[in-house]
Amino acid sequence: MTNTGERSTSERIIENLNRALHALLDGDDRVFFLGEDVLDPYGGAFKAARGLSTKYPDRVLTTPISELGFVGVANGLSLAGQRPIVEIMFGDFIFLAFDQIINFAAKSVSMYGRRVPHHLLIRCPVGGHRGYGATHSQSVQKHFLGVPDLDLFELSPLHDNTALLPRILARDHPGILFESKVLYAQPQLGEGAIDDLFTCEFLDEERMTAHVFVDRDPQAILIASGGSFPACWQAARQLLLEHEIEVQIVVPFQLYPFEVQSLAPLLSTAPALYVVEEGTAGGTWGAEVAAVVAEAWPHRAPVRLIHSADSIIPSARHLERDVLVQPENIVKRVSTDLHAIHPRSHHQ
């Protein structure tokens, strides 16, 4: 991030996440942590698990390379009343566990006639920008949309994992937390001024839906997945400073089911609505958000979608850059649509 005036906080996002995990294991002996190479001193490929195995050796399980199997084990722990958290090393491998997630974890909640609690949180690092290539860089969120009783969340710099993770693990049904890998090293932000221009507030009491703004009367709202927030933020600064276009950013912690109510107050000013995400084209989260918005406000102009190209994620950095959505793509799209500062009539 090249923003100026970032608020001073020394915590990085991975540290916030790690602290959240510690608190979970500390506070409740039903909480387990499973995944590949999660023991200390390694603490998992991205270090989210650091310290856990030292403090809670009996509830941290390092697993064989068996994604289907260990998600199944977590399902069994959950059946037995426990609250497992599973780490998938790279989100791309979650496809191996698709059956246990969709056909067992999610279905168990309702397919036996009476609601059966199934506590399970799957952590799933996703996304590119690191040159890992096609099988280690996908944004796999889209593939999990629309499963009854499977909630989807996304890590963001704005949301406090120590507050939110306990709440989502306490739900009676499973969830997946997608985590953009490039966020880990970035500073944890939150309510208040996040730089010299933008302020963050939450639209709901649970502090699930973050709202980043400079002014109360924006020309566009970007609904951003947590992982695309940094690009949106940078784009918003540029739009403001270079194009005099004011955009606000809404970052929902919960991707699915998408809670459209929180948007209602913002939409009264009826600006153009965009959904921004890193996922590649087709079957996107944005399409789902657009459908939910269209259902709630059938007379609005359609939500516009900004996402990565219709492509695998190539390995070389310069090629990867061309595929993944960048701040300048957002700037260009929004500024072109809005024709500088004057919104055209068709945005209604």
Binding site: V71, G72, V73, N75, L79, R114
Partner: protein, 313 residues
């Protein structure tokens, strides 16, 4: 870990020829009549969906279930009516479930393949339950009360990779899982030789999992044979695979049997039912008639119930 004694010594019919207790025979024949009744109900169009009967295999759950405690987990599969009936002796609930009537175990939402009651759970995807059983077993072991997780699978299910991921973790983590394998030599229409290279014993042992082969179809003898082995797992935590050699007498589900009538007749000739009938004709006839009548009465009663409603979604 205590090395189990004589694990490969088969239990055969010859080992025990005492007449089964009335209770055992009642359960065996209840399952049999339940399944036969279901097939008739399907044929007459009174049930929709699908079903997989355990005809020929009834003695396996009858042998296993009395050894299990309430806090043990049972994971059943598509061919699970016998498992359910042997655990709960609740033909009314199961029939109502399959017919979508009030009082069904899962209010008709689950159906034949998706049953849940207490710590008994079944689902329709082969192999899915094995890793789940490992997880449940880990928690049981943590509780230190000697609980077991007991998945039932068929021979064909050994095609699923999940089985091996689970065996590996069960052995590594000393998870008290007892896999009951109902090896009927066929998977839907595919005979074992077309499905499986090597054998189940070799596969279990290759993953450091103990193995026990059970032949014969005398429920009580099998139960006696299994009792100390299950106790051993309760104590040591070391997982165990128990393979029953058995036979499927009916079609895979309803009418889809590709075996020749001669093949099926040969299986029927060595069926436990035929054997029991020949050896203990009087008590067999008496219990058989009673269970037939009981099932008839149950069908009548359940059929008169209202359709189930799915209130607690």
């Amino acid at each position: 870990m205590i090395p189990p004694a004589n694990l490969s010594h088969p239990v055969s019919s010859a080992n025990a020829s005492a007449c089964p207790s009335r209770e055992t025979l009642e359960l065996l024949l209840l399952i049999r009549h339940f399944e036969e009744t279901l097939l008739r109900l399907f044929q007459s169009g009174k049930i929709h969906g699908t079903t997989h009967t355990c005809l020929g295999q009834e003695y396996i759950p009858v042998a296993v279930m009395p050894l299990l405690r309430d806090d043990d987990f049972v994971f059943s599969n598509h061919r699970g009516h016998g498992h359910y009936l042997a655990r709960f002796r609740d033909p009314e609930g199961l029939l109502a479930e399959i017919m979508g009537r009030e009082g069904g175990t899962c209010d008709g939402v689950g159906g034949s393949q998706h049953l849940r009651r207490d710590r008994y759970i079944s689902t329709g995807v082969q192999g899915e339950s094995l890793p789940v059983a490992v997880g449940a077993a880990l928690q049981l072991r943590r509780k230190k009360r000697g609980g077991l997780a007991v998945p039932f699978i068929g021979d064909g299910t050994w095609g699923q990779g999940a089985v091996y991921e689970a065996l590996n973790m069960a052995a590594l983590w000393n998870a008290p899982v007892v896999v009951i394998v109902e090896n009927n030599g066929i998977a839907q229409t595919t005979v074992r030789s077309a499905n499986m290279a090597g054998n189940i014993e070799g596969r279990a042992r290759a993953f450091g999992v103990e193995y026990l082969r059970c032949t014969g179809h005398e429920a009580e003898a099998l139960q006696a044979r299994l009792a100390p082995e299950l106790d051993r797992v309760r104590q040591s935590g070391a997982p165990l695979v128990v393979e029953f050699e058995t036979r499927r007498l009916a079609a895979h589900s309803k009418g889809d049997d590709t075996r020749t009538p001669e093949e099926v007749a040969a299986l029927r000739a060595i069926d436990w039912g035929a054997d029991y009938q020949a050896r203990w004709p009087e008590i067999f006839a008496e219990v058989d008639a009673r269970m037939r009548d009981r099932m008839a009465a149950i069908v009548e009663e359940v059929e008169s119930r209202a359709l189930s409603s799915w209130s607690n979604r």
